[in-house]
Structures are given as C-alpha cells and as structure tokens.
C-alpha cells in the first residue's frame, strides 16, 4: 500500500501512519523523487508519527530521500518522531544529519518556509 503524498502549495506532505516495511519506504523515495520533479515542489515534510521503529535502514533511506530531492531543489523535514523512537535512535547512534527535524507538520512547514526564504507564494 503506497504512502499518500499530498501537495500543499509548493510543499509535498507524506504522512506515514503505520509500521513501515522496507519496500514501502523505497517506494516513497521513488514517488517523492518523481513528484518533486514534476510538480516543482520546494519542500517536503515526511511525517513519521505512525512509525513504530526507525532503524538504520529507515534512517539511511530518509537521508537518501533528502539528498536526492535536494538535487531537484527541494528541502526535506522529518516530523513526528515519537519520544520512544527518538530515544531508540539515539541509543543506536542513528542520526538524520543533515536532515531537518521538527515536532509536527505545523513546525515542519515553518522550517521549510524559513529554509526556502519566506513566503511560499512565488507568483511574483
């Protein structure tokens, strides 16, 4: 089952609601790479609030997503990491550098706005 990706202005929002299998995250990577290009998205928020475990593979995949989409001009923010998942990641020495992380969708969009210099309205 593919992870739904919504478009909100220049942003793409992917929300992962349940336990994630490897192939699902790889599919997400491909879908995002495709959509960033087609839709000229300037930023991506990946909400991992529903993810039960972020292990080395997931961390690496998220970094890969960020790096490949950056090549196409989009910044990525990961939001919604749960307290117990954060603790596990740190204990496993997994970090998401150089990815941005924020608390939730709202915060994530704020980060994207400030990263991409101000208002999303680029009709000028």
């Amino acid at each position: 089952m593919a992870i739904p990706i919504l478009k909100q202005g220049p942003w793409l929002i992917a929300s992962i609601q349940s336990a994630l299998s490897d192939s699902e995250i790889l599919a997400l990577r491909d879908d995002l790479a495709d959509m960033v290009g087609r839709l000229r998205a300037r930023g991506i928020v990946i909400d991992v609030g529903g993810v039960d475990v972020i292990d080395s593979f997931v961390a690496r995949s998220l970094r890969t997503i960020a790096m490949t989409t950056r090549l196409r001009g989009a910044e990525t923010v990961i939001v919604g990491i749960q307290p117990d998942v954060a603790v596990a990641m740190v204990q496993f020495q997994l970090d998401l550098e150089p990815l941005h992380t924020a608390l939730d969708l709202e915060e994530g969009l704020e980060v994207l706005k400030s990263q991409t210099n101000g208002a999303p309205d680029h009709g000028r």
Binding site: P83, V87, V90, D95, T101, L103
Partner: protein, 301 residues
Amino acid sequence: MDTDGQAVADVAAQAPEVDTTLLRDLVGHLREKRPDLRQEWASRITDAQLLRVMRPDEIFSEVTAVYDNYVDALETGSVEALQAYARDLSERIVRRGVETHEVLGIVLLLRDVLARALFVRHQGDPELLNRVLDVYEPAANRIAATVGVSFVEERERVIREQQAAIRELSTPVLQVRDRLLILPIIGVLDSQRARQLTEQLLHAIRENRAKVVVIDITGVATIDLTVANNLVQTVKACSLMGASAIITGLSSGIAQTLVDLGVDLSTMQTVGDLQGGLEEGERLLGYRVSEVVSPAADGAA
C-alpha cells in the same frame, strides 16, 4: 519479608484433617451467635482503641463483613474469598491511615472472642472442648496470617504508588514561556532517574510543542559516565523532536568530569546559569520571530 512469606505459606499448607461434623456444628454456633459476638468484638475494638480513624458506623459495617468472611473461611477451609475481601478492605483503609498493628489487632481480637464463645459453650465437657479447639485453632491462625499479609502487601503497594507520584512531582518539567520548557534537576542523578527524566522531558516537548528546553543541573553535585552519556543522548533526542536543548548550571567540577569521560562538550549548548539559559532560549525563539517581521524600513527610527 521473605521468611514471613514462607511462614504464611507453611501455615496455609497445613490444611489439617477436619472433623466435619464438629466443624459444621462450630460454624453453625458462630453464625447463630453472630449478633452477640459481633457486638462484643466491636466493643473490644473500641476498648483497645483500634481503628480510631474510622467512624462507629463504618467500623460496624466492616466488622460485620469481616465476621462473615471469617466464619465462611472457617467453614470452607479456603482463604481465597477472605484474601479478596482483605485486599479490598486494605485498599480502602490504608489510605485513611490504618496501621498494620491495628489490622492484626482486630483479627486477633475476633479470634479470641470466638474462642471464648466456644469455651463458654463447651465448658461442661473438657474433652469435647479440646476437640473443638483442635478444629478451630489452626483454621483461625491461618485466617489471621492471611489477613495480616494481605494488608501488609496492600500497604506496600500504596506506599510505592505514593513514592512514584512524589518522584514525578519532584522532577517537574515547567513551561515558563510559550514553547520554552525548563527541567530543573536537583539531587542525585542515577541512571534510572536520568532515564525517567528523559522520558518526561520528551513527552513534555510533545505536549507543550516546545522548541527550546533548558536543562538546569545547578542542583546536581556529581555525575558518572552513564549519566553523562544520558545527558548527551537526551540533547540529541530533543533535537530529533525539533527542540533545542540548553544545559545550564554546569559546575566546573562536572564540566571537568565530562571532559575526563570523553564527552564532547562542543556538541552541547551550555550557558553558565539558569537565568542566562532562559535568556538564550528566549533569544532562540525570538530570533525566529524577528526574521519574519522585517525591521521598520520607513525611516522612522
């Protein structure tokens, strides 16, 4: 506690061969005499100044229930129902300040009241009295031990709960400004407490949508490697949840310990004192605000 537990188990295991006719007769008599004996027991409780925290009507209703459960336990030889009742009773009275010696006291008084009633009944026949007491005594002792242990266990459980609540209260995460939390840590920091604090802090970040957290360790005298690592990990975990952590109150002693332990202090944002930390936190939060609001460019300044 271990030896007590074993002693109870031993007494409980001694379900003796019971003269059933005698037992039935004994139980029947105690039920028949219930109003008198219950009253006598209640008077003895008051005379001995037990259960003073309870009102007379409360004592009466508990006394009735205990009496009935007691006689039932004598009859069936099973203490399960009695245990369940004892736990239930204990849960109610522990929080009101009833103490262990009071609970044991009233159970032993009941045992005596019933024993005397049997003595009175059979005083003309010493041989029969002996046989009745042979049936009564082991069962009565078993009951006393059961009630006592149930009460003690329940009391310990309540104390544990209260301790946990106190621990939670004594390490509060405070919200002092919008999006800004302080976690003041006081006292001895062992690894269990450190883990607990981390959990509380991260949950607080989520609840309060905090962007900055000030962890003040002014009140911590020393830390060891495990706790130092925990501190570093906590800072990283906060970051994963989108919050910056500022450590304040780092004494030179602890700073030296951290360096000696190989902790990379450059990975942590530290400020001398709590006040300074709060100001830095506000600056971090305010900084974002001023970025959006352009400085007045109308030449009014």
